[in-house]
């Protein structure tokens, strides 16, 4: 078993931004905040499984937000995560039309952090809807895009993981794959709808 790492808020944000040992950072977020936030969500009607799902989405959203230049550590990470989790859970409830007087009261009484978070969350709601689209891309393309855009490998390093002859072939493949994926995204009914509206 690996030794656990402890992060200050600043160190955690730096680790996320650099993509350094992201697994440790995610694991740390879980260890520090999962139980507390899940209990909180369960008070608002989430089942244990739903609370865990919301926390998972919360961590994904937080990593997305923390990478943005506009994100500043004005609030503690725990506070920020709580605000994200609340937003996600109440949006879920809204979709299911299960919003009760208690949740509506929460909507009215949101503090500044929660207002800020709601701006971020709206932006990523669409991404959430498109979840799974990448899996529909053919495997070689998926791999090329992940190696480049997530693993941040150079063309030369990518060659070690791909059956292509040289860097130019990998570069051309990446162009084609990103364009193919963009076409898939654009043709998704949700995106077509957003363009028409």
């Amino acid at each position: 078993m690996k030794a656990e790492e402890f992060y200050t808020d600043e160190a955690l944000v730096a680790a996320i931004r650099e993509g350094r040992n992201l697994n440790h950072a995610i694991s740390f977020l879980y260890r520090q905040h999962s139980d507390k936030l899940s209990s909180f969500l369960m008070k608002y009607g989430a089942s244990e499984e739903q609370a865990q799902d919301v926390f998972q989405d919360t961590v994904v959203a937080y990593i997305d937000i923390a990478k943005k230049d506009s994100y500043r550590l004005d609030a503690k990470i725990g506070t920020f995560l709580a605000a994200i989790a609340k937003n996600i859970w109440f949006n879920e409830l809204k979709k299911k039309e299960r919003s009760t007087a208690r949740e509506k009261l929460y909507e009215k009484g949101r503090d500044q952090v929660e207002e800020d978070v709601s701006h971020f969350i709206q932006e990523r709601e669409m991404k959430q809807e498109l979840h799974g689209l990448l899996a529909k891309l053919d495997e070689p393309c998926r791999k090329v895009l992940l190696l480049f855009y997530f693993e941040n490998l150079s063309m030369k390093e990518m060659l070690e993981h791909l059956p292509y002859e040289n860097e130019q072939v990998v570069r051309n493949k990446k162009y084609k794959c990103l364009q193919a994926f963009t076409a898939m995204v654009k043709n998704h009914p949700l995106m077509a709808g957003s363009r028409n509206s």
Binding site: S27, K127, L178, V185
Partner: protein, 256 residues
């Protein structure tokens, strides 16, 4: 600017354009809504790729935690311990161990040691059509006959980049670090004179090691730091693998 291709827009997203091309393209994006839409679509796709990867990684950590592969730990809480007692003994023991470790590190860390630890042998690919003297050089290199490589390279009147590089690598293999420094610098100087530089990034990394080996720590560290700062450098990962503590120790010890 002529019609903007998606490849150009992708190059902009990937930060692969020169400053001038970047500025020109950004100005087209700002003024042409159709181009801007294509650019934003591509940017959104890249964001989706990254988010999907993060989503999968988070899901994996969640699975690992629930299956017990990762240790779960409650948030840290302050622990109240007696202020005295064993604390002083532990502190003294720590200082002794730390002092011994520091002394060992200071004595055992040498530039030549670091150069040797981080040296990676360079395997020559098979190439056709090389000049006759270069082929002999390559044959000697492939046979790991480093002395012959040095001798043949020394006799070549008009060295190619590859010849300079192989000569430097033979020097490295023989731990003749001063000669390696000279050969890699000659290669870099030659690269500055030609249109298509060769072995440039290789030369930078091995020159850094050669400097360390030759006792010119300051120059070696400076070059390594440059490579470490450049994520796209071919030897970025290798340079990152060199212990910062060891470099600090060399810096403290100074050049020979």
């Amino acid at each position: 600017m002529s019609a903007i291709t998606n490849e150009q827009l992708i190059d902009l997203i990937d930060n692969n354009l020169s400053a001038a091309d970047r500025t020109a393209l950004e100005s087209v994006i700002a003024s042409d809504s159709a181009v801007r839409e294509r650019y934003e679509d591509l940017q959104f796709s890249v964001a989706l790729v990254r988010e999907e990867a993060v989503r999968e990684q988070v899901a994996q950590v969640r699975r690992d935690l629930s299956s017990g592969k990762l240790v779960t730990m409650k948030p840290r809480q302050a622990v109240v311990r007696p202020l005295f007692g064993n604390v002083l003994k532990i502190a003294v023991l720590f200082l002794v161990v730390f002092g011994a470790a520091l002394t060992y590190k200071l004595v055992s860390t040498t530039g030549a040691g670091l150069a040797g630890d981080h040296f990676i042998a360079y395997d020559l690919n098979t190439a056709r059509g090389a000049a006759a003297d270069e082929s002999a050089l390559e044959t000697a290199y492939r046979n790991k006959d480093w002395k012959t490589v040095q001798s043949l390279a020394g006799k070549m009147t008009d060295k190619t980049a590859k010849a300079w590089f192989l000569a430097g690598m033979a020097d490295m293999e023989l731990h003749d670090y001063n000669a390696a420094v000279a050969n890699f610098i000659s290669l870099q100087e030659q690269n500055q004179r030609i249109k298509e530089p060769a072995f440039q990034e290789e030369a930078e990394y091995y020159l850094a090691l050669a400097y360390l080996g030759a006792g010119k720590s300051a120059k070696g560290i400076e070059l390594l730091e440059k490579i470490r700062a450049d994520k796209n450098h071919l030897f970025h990962e290798k340079a990152m693998a060199v212990s910062s503590t060891s470099l600090k120790v060399l810096e403290i010890k100074g050049d020979k």
